[in-house]
Symmetry: C2
Subunit: 396 residues, 2 copies
């Protein structure tokens, strides 16, 4: 078992000699790969960890990290960057893993009922938990560093401003926000652009918090949040936004999603879909779907563009903000680690390790792996009032 791991690490070290790294075993023995200062040491604390790594793919690796059978001293992201190496990929696509993934996948099919459970699994961990490491506006999606020196708070605000400009928001617009989280976008748009609107979320904690915040700001009920599935959304809107929710829709429901979207919109309405995605169709990591996002699925551009067009929604612009999400995650990680004791006291040590692993693996996915952040702008039918260039996104 150890020989298999050693061969794999040698292979990784040969194809990517920098940075050098080490391996430590439960018997105290150590090996090193490459010359110079080690960026990290992979610590297999028990023999079971070796089995996890070799035979149970990324699910086993993640579980071993969570439970502490496996540890990493030094830069966890440098280790996780090997995730996208073909040799590691090959190891992960084992029969065992496929079987587990398929079982999890079928379990997670996103009917309205299942969607509710999936969302609550993640978002109802408690507002207190998210408040520890999100910015003040409670924005749990990719920020936008138009200004390289911005804080996380400022970059989240810049993201909302960027979206408002893409939407050509004006006073009196009716904005629908599908998967509105804690209402940060609605609050920003109402405060700065005088829009009316409704947000939808399936998380009771988010819904309550969002409406309280909107009331406190005097924006309610001009904008308000309802506890409903997107399939139950109602009304007529001329602006549409959905930020970091499409990842939960599931590919069997993409047509449903865009048809529902079109049905909510007036002719010439403008919408922006902000979602994580991929260049090529791949299964979402089984560890992630098991522990973090049951029912999650990351779309390709092709998988979105086809049902979008079929629903009469015309793609006018697509921006890939990939590096911005890597940085956002690094900001969250720093804040999360600053509060790790509080998290551990409430949820236990395994939860801390689970989230650390999730946040770092996600950061690596954007920096060197296969995940992207797409903002797709569209109109319902032809809108000849749109600006001819995107210059207005960048002036002022």
């Amino acid at each position: 078992m150890i020989e298999t791991i050693d061969r794999l690490l040698q292979q990784l070290s040969r194809s990517r000699p920098e940075p050098p790294f080490g391996l430590k075993l439960w018997d105290g023995s150590e090996r090193r790969y490459g010359q110079g200062k080690l960026a990290f040491v992979l610590d297999l604390c028990t023999p079971e960890a070796a089995v996890d790594v070799v035979a149970r793919g990324s699910l086993g690796f993640g579980e071993a990290y969570m439970t502490g059978r496996l540890d990493v001293q030094g830069d966890l992201q440098q280790l996780l960057a090997f995730e996208s190496h073909p040799a590691v990929r090959e190891l992960h696509i084992s029969a065992l893993q496929k079987a587990k993934f398929m079982a999890g996948y079928l379990r997670a099919r996103n009917s309205a009922k299942r969607s509710r459970e999936n969302v609550r699994h993640h978002y109802d961990l408690g507002n207190d938990f998210y408040r520890l490491w999100l910015d003040e506006s409670m924005t749990y999606s990719c920020a936008y560093w138009r200004d390289d020196c911005a804080t996380l708070e400022e970059a989240q605000e810049a993201k909302h401003e960027h979206l408002c400009r893409k939407l050509q928001l004006e006073a009196g617009d009716r904005l629908v926000d599908i998967g509105c989280g804690w209402g940060g976008m609605l609050a920003y748009a109402a405060r700065n652009y005088g829009v009316e609107g409704v947000g939808y979320t399936l998380s009771t904690e988010q819904c309550q918090w969002a409406n309280e915040r909107l009331r406190a700001e005097g924006l309610h009920p001009r904008v308000r949040v309802e506890l409903k599935d997107y399939r139950e959304a109602e009304g007529e809107f001329n602006k549409f936004v959905s930020i970091g929710m499409f990842e939960h829709v599931g590919k069997e429901f993409y047509s449903t999603f865009f048809e529902k979207t079109a049905s909510l919109l007036t002719p010439e309405a403008i919408g922006v879909l902000h979602t994580i995605g991929k260049d090529v169709e791949t299964q979402l990591d089984p560890w992630v779907t098991t522990y973090i996002f049951p029912g999650g699925y990351l779309p390709t551009v092709a998988q979105m563009a086809e049902p979008l067009g079929n629903a009469g929604l015309l793609l006018t612009d697509l921006e890939n903000l990939r590096p911005h999400y890597g940085r956002t995650l690094d900001e969250w990680i720093a804040r999360f680690e600053a509060h790790r004791d509080e998290v551990a006291a409430r949820f236990g040590e395994e939860f801390v390790r689970m989230w650390r692993y999730y946040l770092n693996a996600s950061a690596v996915g954007f920096k060197t792996g296969g995940t992207r952040l797409y903002q797709i702008t569209f109109t319902k039918g032809i809108n000849s009032g749109l600006p001819w260039t995107r210059e207005c996104l960048y002036t002022g």
Copy 2:
């Protein structure tokens, strides 16, 4: 037959009452649809024209216009805008048309040999012909009106500048231009950014003209044009551009195209694909494939994004310049009409009518129909040196 046409025109007039229009028959009788000044009169000069319109779909309509069995007094584009009306669409999707389309389609499958013939059909009409109505740089693709007051020449230059910025061009870059036309982009990039490069075209007239122009400017052989199919392109490049050529590739060859593209590029290379496209998959108009672009096919975003990703090319940006092509075509139409007598003297009256119909139908396709102009930016693998925002496209 006339009653069918009358019913159809009544239906069109009811669903879109403005502008009012008229119908004139071969016996001199006239009918009007709507109140007020007529925007156009559809003139069926012979009984055969009525058969063309009712029974032979858009192929029949186009042929009747070309040959003059049918004429239009007034605004041709207002008439052609009815093309996208469901009632007209339905009429066009007749069994006859389908049969003709399929036959034309099979004839036109774009093998390298057939591609050469298809390209020559259109582009070897003679440089003198294109020089009559293109701008000085001989750019036969969508211009870019960043400045609303720009002339066509200026807007074509602005398009080249916009592409150079998307490509992050720098001195010493190696640029490949697939389907380089008369070499306008290569000349601009070499003159303003000091790049080296090669362009490929299948048109002998374009190839000769382009190399002469590059020599005259002292840019040859730093940039040069070769008479080759894209499948025969060779070399290593860090920048890629293809402007208005992908429309000729044919959907069976999209994977071939992107795999070939990837094979020409170094890691982190940047490319821009500039092509007409559609929101939903539809057959190209059979009149267009018969008379103007044999082998032509307009891609959807989904049809491009999938093989792009599979070839290891990562989509970083997509811009839809739809309204710019409507205006470009109007500029070409004005210049074409100013030289219509010269064109008629050389190619005959039917050719004039054929091209007038093609240019106007194309303009209407962008203004109110189903055609789009996509600029897709991509990198070969992850390029972490790209700017984090698109602001640099709009500054200076």
